[in-house]
Symmetry: C2
Subunit: 138 residues, 2 copies
Amino acid sequence: MSRPLTIGEAARASGVSAKMIRHYEALGLLPPAPRRPSGYREYDEADLHRLRFIRRARDLGFTLDGIADLLALWDDRTRASADVKALALAHVAELRRRAEAIAGMIATLERLAATCHGDDRPDCPILEDLAAGRPPPR
Amino acid sequence: MSRPLTIGEAARASGVSAKMIRHYEALGLLPPAPRRPSGYREYDEADLHRLRFIRRARDLGFTLDGIADLLALWDDRTRASADVKALALAHVAELRRRAEAIAGMIATLERLAATCHGDDRPDCPILEDLAAGRPPPR
DNA sequence: CCTTGACCTTCCCACCGTGGGAAGCCCTAC
DNA sequence: GTAGGGCTTCCCACGGTGGGAAGGTCAAGG
């Protein structure tokens, strides 16, 4: 039974900035915080829990939309674990797509950089390749 | 010596949308296009070349700032190829950082998903882990 | 010549997620 | 009672892209 926290304290304790806490509340990820007569928001342990949940999910690359879905499942004690797993795996698939895209870029750039002698002469296969600009696929 | 292109034709030929062509011009990545008396922009082969350069650089994940740097080097016929190579390798380093961050997320999520039985029972280690929310590193 | 439809112009607004900062009130410790 | 830090709301910015409104222009066909 501890004293309620101010938004700044909740921010420090959760790793979510005060600015973002207000924003998440406005988005509906958090229930509207109760207010002191002065208008100050108050937070308790349950709110901290939810904030840390959000923080962790963001660290795992979930979008706020995805987090909203996760929170809905979290709030529903009768959810099937399969639902959560499906969400997680769909996100993994998305992350893999991004990773592959990046890997492709790295491969191309490494290949180009390898053929660039990198001295003070001006000719450079990297720029030449960029300039070549093969026919745009779309 | 062909007829100048309209912005729409340049867009189709370069893979950069008309909207983005105007935007890039406003940003200074492209020189202001000459105009017909009606105000229509006109593009020639050199412009197409530059647009395809930008398109390709974006496909390789360069930011518009990075592209501005690349274009400056491209425009400077006396640049040292080492300068270009340094830019490219710095970008590769950045891409690698992103790829590693994503790989970490994937690893964590896969580990969690593996321990989630994924049936219609409600208990789920994925949500439990998110909820646990270890002390925020910052 | 005139209409039609595709194209162009500028302008503003949206997304996502986050931060900066102004103007003004509140709370605590001295 | 005053100083300082914290809180409130509000608007604006970033990067990069798209949507769409309101209006002018072009080419082809009748």
